[in-house]
Structures are given as C-alpha cells and as structure tokens.
Symmetry: D2
Subunit: 303 residues, 4 copies
C-alpha cells in the first residue's frame, strides 16, 4: 500500500527500505534533499491517493509539532497521520484533537529496534481506534519481525497508549542497561575473571540473563574489550525522565529506573557536580579532611 | 562418560536426565531414596571407575560443606569434585585446598537456566585448571544448549572464577527483574493500556528489551493477568547480597543491583519495617500528621 | 498589626496563639465554628481595616484554590493575600495573576516547624515583591524564633520562590528521616547495642549527625523504645514528589530523595506491591523457587 | 587524671588541648617530633603511673594494629587501652583478645565532632566493661560538650559496640549530607531562588531540617556561594562501606545510605566510569545514538 514517510534518518531511512522491500509504495521526505523523494510536504501529499496515510518519524517535541501543523494544512478529511517518533504521550491527545478539527485521523506508534530493525524488524506499540489500526496493519506487518504478530506488535489502547507503552519500554531499558553495566564494572574491578568479554558472551544461551542487550554488550566487548574508545558519558532521550515522573505521579516505587536515569545525569557532570561539591564542602567544614589530603604532619585520624 | 551426581532436586534431577539422554553414565545420589540410584555416598563412589568425577548439586553453605567433607574421605588422588551449586566464591578456595590435601581436584561451576535447562540446556561458568576443565568438557557439552560453545560456557579463570561470574550474573538478574517489575506496575497503575499482558508479550521480537525474563513475564501474565495468585514477597538467595558487598568492597557503584536487593528485603517486612516505623515516629513527633489522619476538626494543614 | 487568618488547625491555630501573644490583632476563621472568630470569610474581611492582610493556612490544592477564589470576590485593591500552606510553587503564579486582576497582592510563604512552632517559632521562606514582604515583616518577626532574622526567614525571590524553597526543604527532610531510619533499623537488627534509644540520645551534642530530627527520634524512642505502637506506614504530602519531579526535569541526580519517597510509596503497598508480585512471578517461571518453598523432595538447589 | 595519648593530628591534638584545659595530665606521642611530648611509646609508657590509660587516636587498620602490637609489649596487667580511631568493629574483639593475653584491658570509643570538637566538645560512643568505662569517665566528661552526659556519651555495650554505633552514625551522616547536597543542586539548577546561600542559612532556626550539617553547609556557602573552589570529588573513609555491608548482611534495606556511598564512588570516576562506558557502548550498538551526536544528515530520530 501507499505510505508517506517524513524523516529519513537512521530510523526512517531503514523503515523505508524495509517497507519497499515488502512491496509497499513509500514516498519519503527529508530535509536532506539527497535522500528525499520530494521537495516538500506539499509535493509528498500530492503524490499520495486519498485517503492518505502519512507516517511522521522525526524528533519529538518542536520538530514533530511543526510537521503536524503543516500536515494539518495539507491533508484532507479521512487522511491519517501516524506519529512514530518518541513523542511524549501527552502530546498525542493534543495532536489527535488538532487534526480532528479537519477530520484527519491520528495514531501514535512507539517503534523499537534501533538500526537493527531494518533487517530484524521493529517491535511496535500503537494507540488509536480499531479502524485506524486495522487500516495500517499491512504497514505494521511489513515493519515487524517474522513470527506471530502478537510477539512484536500491540494495539495498546486509545491514542497515547502506544507511546505510553514505548515510554515504559525505554524506562525498563535504562534499568536493564545499568544492571549489565554494574555487573561489567564489578567483573573488571575484581580481576578474578581472565576474560570478561568471554563471560558476557557465554550468557547468550541457557542463562537467566540472556537478552538482546546482553548480546549487544558481548558484541561491543568483543570489538573493544576494555571499552577504551568509549567515554562514560551517557545522554538520556526523554522517555526515562517521563517514566520516573509518571511513577512519582502514580505512587509507583521506581528505585531501579530512577537510579539508572540519575546515573546518566551524573555521568554528564563529573567533578562539576554541584551536589558532590556540596558534600565535599561540608566535609571541609567539619574538618580533618583537608588535612587528610596533605597528610604530612604525623599521625592523623578522620573526624 | 561416567559422572557421580549428588543432589537430584529440581536442578540435579533435570541435569541427570539431560546427561543420560546424551549417552552419559550418571550415578545419582539424593537423600530421598525414591529418586536415588545408591544408598549413600560410599556406594556412589564405589560404582565409579577411577579417576572419578563427582558433581555436587546441593544447597550452598553447610550442606555443600558436609558433602565435600564426606567426599574427601571417600575419594582418592586424581579424582575430581565439581561444585555446581550456588556457593559463595570464597568457599571455593577453601574447598580446593581441603581436597588438594588428598590429591583430589576441584572445579567450581555456576549453572543457570532453572527448570527450563532440562530441555533448553544450561548456561555454565567454570573455574579451575585447564586440564580439569578439559576433562569435564563432554559433561559441559551435554548440559549446555546447542550452538557455539562460547555462547553458553566460559572457563572464567582459576578456582572461584566460575562462581564469581555466576554471582554477578544473579546480581544482574535481580536488577533486570526489578526493572521489568517497575515497568509492569506503572502500566497497571496508569490504566491507559487496555491489556498489559499483551504489551509485555509484544516486546518478544524486535524490541530493545526483549529477553528471556521478558518472555517469562509475558508467560506469567498470560496465565494470571493481574497476578492475583502471587504474593509480593520475594526471597533472595545469597548471590545478590554478595554482589553488592563485593561492589562496596571494590568501590563499584551499584545503585541498581542494590536497590533490587533492598526491595526484596523490604518486601518481606511490610508495615513491620523498623525503618518505616522510625520515619512514622518522627512525623508523629513534629506533629500535624496524627491530626491529618483524623481530619475531623476543621481545616488542617501539614507541618 | 491586624491579620486575617484562615484555617485554625494544628498549624493555623498555633500561629494565631503566637501572633496574639506578640500583640498582633488576629481575626481567625475556621470551618469549625467552635474555634472560629467569625462566621464566614465575608465577616472576616469586614472586621479588617484596608489595606488588609489575609493569611491562608489551609490544605494545598482544591481547598486553597476555593479560599483564594472567594477572597478574590471579597477583598479590594491594595489588599494582600499570603498563602502559607504547602501549595505547589506552580500554583503561586496562577494565584498571583488571578488576584492581580483586582489589584490584590499575593505572597507565598513556606512555613516549617510543626506543632513545636508555637513555642519555638517557625522557619519561613517567602516569595513576593520587596514591598509586600516588607509590609508583612512584623508578622514574620512574630512567627519566627528569636535570634537573627536571617537564620529563620528568607525572602527567597519573586512569587513562587518561597514555596519552592519549602518544597526542597521537605525533600531534604525525607532524605534525612530515611537516613536516620536506616541507621535505626541496623542498630536494632545487629543486637550489639544494648540500648538503641540511648545511642540516638547520645548524638544530641557534639556529633556530626546532631539535628532536630535526631532529637525527635530520640524522644520517640524514649517513649516507645521498640516503636511497638507505630505502624511502618508512611504517607507523603506532595513536596517530596514535586522535588523529585523537579530534579528529573532539571537533570539533577536525586538518588537519596527519590529513594526516600519510594520507600514511603512502598510502605503503603506491602505484599500487595504489583512490582514485587511481578518479581515473584518471574522467579516462579524460571523455576526452582516454588520447590524451595515446599522443600520436601530431598536435596534441592536454586536455579 | 593521667592519660597517654597516641596520635596528635587534627583530632588527637585538639583532644589533648581540651583535656589539658580541663586539668588532666596528658602525655602525648606523635611521629612528628615537633608536637610530641615523648620520643617513643616506651618513653610514653614510662611516664605514666600504673594502672595506665592509653588512648590510641591513629588511622584505622594497619597503623592502629601496629600501635596496639607495640603497646602490648610495653604495657602491664591492669593497664587499659582505648581505641578512639575509626576502626572497624570487627577489629575490636581481636584487639581485646590480644591485649587480654597480658591482662591489659580494652575499650573502643567512636569520637565525633571534627575540628569543632576542641571548643564544642566531642560526641562519644563507647564499648567495654562497666568497670573500664567507669574508670575513664573523667576523660569522657572532659572531652564531651557541656550538658547532660547522656546527650553526648553512650556506653553502647560490650567491646565493639562503641565503634558499631559510630559506624552507623557515619552511615547516617553520608545520607544526610547527600540529602542536603541534592537539595542544594536543585535550588541552583532552578534559578528561581535569588540567593541560595541565604535559603540554607534561613533553615537554621525553627525548620524541620535544621542541623549542624545544615549550619556547616550555610557557612560553606557564605564563604563560597557557588562552591567555585571545590572539586566535586568525595572520598569515603570506611564506615559508610561497612554500614552498607552490615545492612546487606542483616537484610536491612539501605537505599539512602547506599546511594550516598555510591555517589561518592562515582564522583571519583567521572567519565572513566566503566559502567557508564558499558551503557554508552550498548547505546552505540543498538544504534541511532552515534548519529544523534553528529546530527548533520537531515531529520533523525532516536531508536
């Protein structure tokens, strides 16, 4: 079937390839003219037969809002917009309402899988009406991995539910990554294990901790056993923050997901951390500690 | 090849079946005579040709120690004992030394996979000399899943290294389980998602969080969608504690693994938690809070 | 000076007493007629000379909003409303704007000290214009403890800044309480200390951890050494949640304040915790653990 | 009374001054000859009348062990050694036993107060027999602040109990410092408060969070409002680690104290953190993130 696809970066570009390979007719737009099929959104819309389906795959927030605003002006009643980016679930109701003013339908879809999705297929979580989801099913079936549909796709609920499940997915992802990372650091610190990358690789089959992230960690360690070329500096992309804020809002204890998020924050501060400066300042105030640093005046003990 | 196997519970019993199916000759002992091949360890040893290999698969601590003590009296120079239980890595050096006094070899092997290992195969992490590990390789190959050996087996280092890797494996497992659990609770609390079990199941293929634990969670939710038959009461089995204590010893930050462990501790306390009693007592002291409970005397605000 | 005071609960009632003792003329209103000076807000306003000062000391959220709505209809240009409750700082800008439509001034003031404030004085953090704060200074000076003004009062910034500082104050309070509580629980668990209440009391002078909360803990333990009459069940009153959500919003790592908050959430769930049910369910799935409970089939080991 | 005092650093030197001012006769020894009263321990012992009391105030671990070993050779039956350093409580039983072989008594005493103790007095927690504690009471009374004895001194239990209470005291201290530090960082990040140091200072009287650490923080911020001269790099001195390890041993949830400890560990790693390198490596593997950094190829979205 026909699909307009806006945003042809790492995710959108690969999705276009996978959809095309499955026989779908994709008209893609990107701000980079070298990879764009059309010169602007007006041309994209003009190349699609009504009722149109347009998948938006651009950064969440202002960029997504701008695309949706422009599509509202270009599309017609009965057309359908899918937001496949990492938008906050609260944006979805707003976008649904804005587009509904012109009779344009809206579906939100969280897409997981990274650069591997092109070959492996993407896991997807969608929110919208039964009719709209049904209408898009050929697209979802082409994007998802082989195997039973329910193992890689869920119609999670009304508009917003897809992004909500994707948000929680990413929160869990933060926790899992941090768990592996802590285990890795301890294995490195202990020096009892002669080949830490081999230990991670040996968890691939049969163990309780086997997972795709475990395999990726093993791959990364195979290429760079001491992670010498990596900076311990990790950004966050919004979903982790929203997950924790939702947990707080609903009284859900989130010690693990919050800790994972805070480690990312902290990784970007280093010794510029205001909190750790404050702790150091307190220690200086109650004394002994400055002297500990110098250590040159005989036997000294702590506070 | 021949193997003595001590302990035929959920793990040992399944391992016997898997080894036998692979053509190995297993002499099994258990305190339960209904499932034991021999009446005692002396008979077990007598049924094996020297040099013997005896795999101990019993609870860590006192039970393992008692079995090793008895084996030391029964086995001869050149024989080999494998501790496949969840012993603390510090026990391994002790056991190695005790057995070495009689020329008996020792290998430690962490075994992962639970009840599924019988059919799927077990992931294993071994510590010991190259010669001893080589000698046991037919056993390891029969126990592990199909596929490349390095994806389910690692010779992690000298004696103790196998249990160390298994310990870290279990620490990571705690963190992963807690991450999924927090995500589950938020999805349940929010009530935006119409079918939470379906959301977990849809993560099976293509997503970043896909894993064996995710599949098990989806299975559990399929059987009992609201987990109505489960008590939120979780024991810990030692490795999580040791992992955190090792992290503290080596200056490794472990916010996620420690938080997972502490939630398990806390789950067993409920409102009997001395710490939360202390917090409640402090709030009572500085006031207002008792009154908040009653709420019947007009407009009241917090401290 | 004259002050209208709305809300005569634990906090407001004590504040009236303290203000009256300092020679101020307080007209108090409460929904409980037994303690109210006037029958309604209209009568309260009528008893004050313009320009009036009216301090609102009622629960944050709907109750505060309703009082401010009613005051907007009753007060006149040049009058001043102080919100002394635990309102969220984001409410303050809204209230300021609503009242400004009629030329009514607005000041927010976080008040700390609990039931002890009546005798000890209250610590206060205010947000508003220099003129409005100056106008209220006789009231602040009467409410605060003796000693230098800057040790118990801060004009923190524009409207909202007072409640923001109070919010952070309460977040810190959560962390401190949890720190003492964890130490208490360990002392109780270890049983090396013959008199835990005496240990807490001995921290009152000279130590690094001496504080008012430490003294309150010592008092509580003196009265009930094993906290037998206390349930380990702790509510939260909003500020802790907002503090964590603000930390997440601004990329500030908050491992301690968030952990304190989550323990409170968790204390209210006990074994009904959905997350811990999910962890227990996962353990059941990968096996061994159900059997561990029964333990009747001979030697059994963990997964 | 007479007291031998070994170690005249920040703590020991101040204690000598305070004891001398109270009329006690202190013979002090330090490896720094400029501040030492005697040339070695033998001379120190020779200057004291039997039965002697010798207070050891040197770094925990090897230095303390060496001093105790030497004292064992020099002292006689009926003499008494006090370990006032930050020794681990498990060392105390060992030291008690070693000295008992020669009939020398042993008392452990945790001392808190830092450099301020000289003028304010020290909070102390002692472990030992009733007789030995009674014998030392004039020394304790001189060292502690004015006021009721039970507010600054506790005979916590048998040998080891004093250091145990001090260990828990320091664990609590870690948690409190981190709580204030997180609050400080949020106030700095938000920029709603015009004078953060003034906010901290205003918590000195009347508030729930008032404490000595809060006053020290206010003092530090007064001197260096943005903590520009402080590195956010914080060491730990043993007690925090032991507290967490004890909590894990006894099944005591310690989310706050452990988080405080881990932040200190992490503050010393910065972007060299192996765990955060591992997280970054995983993100690179599943893709999109490397591209996010460059950002130059059109519209790109996250994984």
């Amino acid at each position: 079937m026909q699909l307009g696809l806006i945003g042809l970066g790492k995710m959108g570009g690969n999705m276009r390839d996978r959809l095309t390979a499955a026989g779908h007719d994709v008209v893609g737009y990107d701000t980079n003219p070298d990879i764009s099929d059309v010169k602007d959104l007006a041309e994209l819309v003009s190349k699609l037969d009504a009722p149109r389906n347009v998948w938006v795959m651009v950064p969440a927030g202002k960029v997504t809002q701008a695309v949706i605003d422009e599509l509202k002006g270009l599309l017609a009643e009965g057309d359908l917009v899918i937001d496949g980016g990492n938008s906050k679930f609260t944006d979805d109701a707003k976008h649904e309402q804005e587009l509904a003013e012109k009779g344009i339908h809206f579906v939100d879809t969280g897409v997981s899988g990274g650069v591997w999705g092109k070959d492996n297929g993407y896991g997807m979580m969608a929110g919208g009406s039964d009719e709209d989801i049904e209408r898009l099913m050929p697209i979802y079936d082409a994007l998802r991995p082989e195997g039973p549909r329910e193992e890689s796709f869920v119609h999670a609920g009304d508009v917003g539910a897809g992004h909500y499940v994707k948000m929680v997915h990413n929160g869990i992802e933060y926790g899992m990554m941090q768990a592996y990372a802590e285990g890795y650091e301890l294995l490195e610190a202990k020096e009892i294990v002669k080949d830490v990358p081999a230990a991670f690789k040996a968890w691939t089959r049969g163990t309780v901790v086997r997972s795709w992230l475990q395999e990726l960690t093993a791959d990364a360690l195979e290429k760079d056993p001491n992670l010498e070329n990596i900076e311990g500096f990790v950004n966050d992309s919004g979903e982790g923050r929203w997950t924790v804020q939702e947990g707080v809002e609903y009284g859900v204890p989130m010690p693990v997901i919050s800790a994972s998020l805070f480690q990312r924050f902290f990784s970007r501060q280093g010794t510029a951390s205001p909190a750790m400066k404050a702790v150091a300042a307190m220690r200086n105030e109650f004394g002994g500690h400055a002297v500990t640093k110098k250590g040159e005046q005989g036997i000294v003990t702590d506070h």
